[in-house]
């Protein structure tokens, strides 16, 4: 009876994982070598990491494969995770980072959390104490699986060598499919040294995991009807558009159906800022028009975005008048923050390709004119002031504007977190896709420098410019050592206001100018960069700026530019935290 029941269930439920053909096999190798071969089987070309006791067997195996798998030695494991993120964003596949157990693994945590909230595929491999020592408070034993659980899409502890190929195959499959994210594989030391017969098969399917839905034609039709009948439709695009490669489809839809398009912070560069349908940037420091007019549109089409509070402001007064169409790959995002009229749970590109033929050719001259009117207001109240050379030192906006013009909007811009980030994303005129690398959801200071390194390694033929504040620069400044050691020609521009500027701005506006712990005494950054053998220059007047930017941009090697900027500049417009988007302040 029991046997029969088991037989029945095994036909009812297919096996837990479906693996493909064997792509590499090697008899009698160590688990450590298996790790390296597994990475190679996944097409990995480089790894960011830092060695230590519990992962030494893997580092020993890396030595044998050093001409096929390049390892970049970061200076702090946080840098490894961010570099893997930067690499993943430009390469559109998982970045890989590695660390030893205990402190090595805990140092990765900030980067993993960042990758989780910003849906970046990274595969983290950590060493762990031997299986027999688990739970004994052994030297450098930390419960990394427990710590990383809420900030990984999936994690798994390997305690036997035989588990390595399947665990790594699943890791890549999970990290890169559906809504991407970080995964962590913790490998005990005994598993790294055990000898076994290695066979690598890619993971094709996991029975409990449904990464992507087919496009629901019925929902597409309902969406098309809403859009075709709309009088003031508005499209919002997020990083989902970039992750699915739907930039052209967004453009086509905007052109055919005449819909204005605004982008979230992480959606920037998905559409050229010069496109006539592009109306700007959403959110707390985004453009005036897109924020205010969110509360005037009648149909809101959100594509690959998650209605973060920095985009929506106060939810109970966000787009209440609009019917919302949400195109999103992750079903858990539907109705999480904003109630939808039509939910299309699908990959953005597939959804848009199904939707496009059903849309009518439309133009909304009056509606588009409203955005223009708002632009004129923002231009007069904010932008012209930001650009006006009224202060002794240049303002961040001027610097970014000049950089944007000199690079024609074609560079990859990595930013850190703070005022410079908001200024860079406001004023850099992105004209190429895959060009915006920033920490959005977590707002991680220290993200930029290592992420820019990863991006440059991922896209060596593109200009990569790291724009960082004086505060955040000092959070991962040690990664200058990576730039030095591997000659990575990243351009670094520190916008130095000698302040934790964004916090100072909040203290000015919301805490009566009580400047509590926001002024910074900084080292001589130029000397510091030079100590790392990076050519460096400081701009102390507006007049020096253009020439210095030229020098930086023409440099074949890495270059460090410190620009002394206006100290008490503020970023406007601003939707104060907890306010409605329509309550956006212009000054």
């Amino acid at each position: 009876m029991l046997l029969q029941q088991e037989a029945e269930t095994s036909t009812a439920f297919h096996t837990q994982t479906l693996m493909g053909e064997c792509v590499i096999a090697k008899k009698g190798i160590s688990g450590a070598e298996a790790v390296v071969l597994s990475l190679l089987a996944e097409g990995v070309e480089c790894v960011f990491g830092y060695p230590g006791g519990a992962i030494m067997p893997v580092y020993d195996a890396l030595y044998d494969y050093r001409d096929r798998l390049q390892h970049f030695l970061v200076r702090h494991e946080q840098g490894a995770a961010h570099a893997a993120q930067g690499y993943a964003r430009v390469q559109r596949r998982a970045g890989v980072c590695m660390a030893t157990s205990g402190p090595g693994a805990t140092n990765l945590i900030t980067g993993i959390a960042d990758a989780m909230i910003d849906s970046t595929p990274i595969v983290c491999i950590t060493g762990q104490v031997g299986k027999h020592l688990l739970g004994t408070d052994a030297f450098q034993e930390t419960d990394v699986i427990g710590i990383s659980m809420p900030i990984t899409k999936w994690n798994y502890q390997v305690t036997r060598a035989e588990e390595i190929p399947e665990a790594i195959a699943k890791a890549f499959y999970i990290a890169q499919s559906g809504r991407p994210g970080p995964v962590l594989i913790d490998i005990t030391k005994n598993a790294q040294t055990e000898i076994f017969d290695f066979q690598y098969r890619k993971c094709l399917k996991i029975r409990s995991y449904f990464p992507k839905r087919k496009v629901d034609i019925d929902a597409i039709q309902r969406a098309a009807e809403l859009i075709n009948r709309a009088e003031r439709p508005f499209m919002l695009i997020g990083q989902g558009v970039i992750l699915s490669g739907a930039q052209d489809d967004v453009k086509e839809m905007a052109e055919k159906a005449g819909i204005p398009v605004a982008s979230t912070l992480l959606g920037l560069s998905a559409m050229s800022v010069h496109h006539p349908q592009y109306v700007g940037y959403l959110g707390m420091h985004g453009n005036y028009g897109p924020n205010v007019l969110t509360n005037q549109c009648d149909v809101l089409i959100a594509i690959g975005m998650r209605f973060d509070d920095r985009v929506t402001g106060r939810l109970d007064s966000y787009a209440k008048q609009a019917k919302v169409i949400h195109i999103e790959i992750d079903p858990a995002e539907i109705d999480k923050n904003v109630k939808t009229e039509v939910a299309i749970v699908a990959d953005a590109k597939e959804a848009l390709q199904a939707l496009l033929p059903l849309l009518e050719i439309k133009r909304y001259p009056e509606w588009m004119a409203k955005f223009k009117e708002c632009d004129a207001i923002e231009r007069e109240k904010v932008i012209l002031k930001d650009f006006a050379p009224t202060t002794p030192l240049p303002k961040m906006a001027e610097v970014i504007h000049m950089l944007s013009q000199k690079t024609k909007g074609k560079a990859i811009i990595a930013t850190d977190v703070g005022q410079h980030q908001m200024m860079a994303t406001r004023y850099y005129q992105f004209d190429e896709p895959y060009s915006n690398i920033t920490s959005g959801g977590l707002g991680t200071m220290g993200f930029c420098l290592p992420a820019a390194i990863g991006a440059k390694i991922g896209k060596p033929n593109r200009e990569v410019i790291a724009i960082i504040g004086d505060g955040g620069f000092q959070m991962t400044i040690q990664e200058l050592g990576v730039i030095m050691q591997y000659n990575i020609p990243v351009k670094i521009m520190v916008l130095n206001n000698n302040f934790l500027g964004m916090v100072r701005q909040w203290q000015q506006l919301f805490f009566d100018r009580r400047y509590s712990s926001v002024d910074m005494q900084n080292p001589d950054f130029v000397k510091l960069a030079e100590a790392y053998r990076i050519p460096a220059r400081r701009v102390e007047t507006r007049e020096q700026l253009s020439d210095a930017l030229d020098e930086m941009l023409h440099s074949q090697s890495a270059f460090f530019l410190e620009v002394m900027v206006e100290k008490e500049d503020n970023v406007f417009p601003m939707v104060p935290a907890g306010a409605a988007v329509a309550e956006i302040r212009l000054e």
């Binding site: 029941q5 088991e6 269930t9 095994s10 009812a12 439920f13 837990q16 699986i145 427990g146 659980m149 809420p150 899409k153 999936w154 994690n155 502890q157 999970i174 499919s177 094709l204 399917k205 996991i206 029975r207 409990s208 995991y209 449904f210 990464p211 992507k212 839905r213 087919k214 629901d216 992750d330 079903p331 858990a332 539907i334 109705d335 999480k336």
Partner: protein, 183 residues
């Protein structure tokens, strides 16, 4: 039973998962993060080999329950999660009561309580007797309150287990998901 505040509702969540280490933490973490207290939790095997069922009882607002369950379902090793109000399920809890044997001596009172409550004695030892009762929380609590004057040495109640009334099999749910998915 924990009181409901405001518009809160009691929900029983049935979660079908792979039988994997760590999933318990992943699932409870989803509640912890939102500061939702888990009123009861039971993990057991199911009729399907290798698949576990978590039965979790929580209180939350009707507009939040869907969001929470979708977060649970999003976990890679969760096959499917369902939520139910009490009307949509058949549910039971099991309670054990350890009583001093002398409580039974000299009077029929305890025996009558046991009979009236449809409970039963499962162990008799020289020093203590263990009574078992299956039922809803109100019922097992009622029995506890009635036994209390006679000296309950120890009382334990299991988490809720529940069977949903809808007839659709897990397998069919999963087949439907398969059919609308790409891998």
């Amino acid at each position: 039973m924990q009181a409901l505040e405001g518009n809160q509702q009691r929900y029983t969540i049935s979660i079908f998962t792979e039988d994997k280490v760590g999933l318990l933490s992943r699932i409870t973490g989803i509640f912890t993060r939102r500061k939702i207290n888990v009123d009861s939790l039971t993990v057991s095997e199911t009729e399907n080999k290798g698949i576990s069922r978590f039965t979790v009882v929580i209180r939350t607002l009707p507009e939040r329950i869907g969001v929470i369950v979708r977060q649970i379902e999003k976990q890679v090793e969760v096959l499917k999660a369902f939520y139910y109000t009490d009307e949509q399920i058949v549910y039971q809890e099991l309670a054990l009561y350890k009583m001093p044997t002398e409580a039974f001596a000299g009077s029929q009172a305890v025996e009558k309580i046991i009979r009236d409550n449809y409970a039963r004695v499962i162990t008799i030892e020289p020093e203590f007797i263990v009574i078992e009762k299956t039922g809803h929380e109100e019922e097992t609590t009622k029995l506890f309150n009635e036994l209390k004057p006679y000296g309950v040495l120890s009382f334990v109640r299991s988490g809720r287990i529940a069977i949903a009334k809808p007839m659709k099999l897990l397998k069919v749910h999963l087949e439907e998901l398969e059919n609308i998915s790409e891998f």
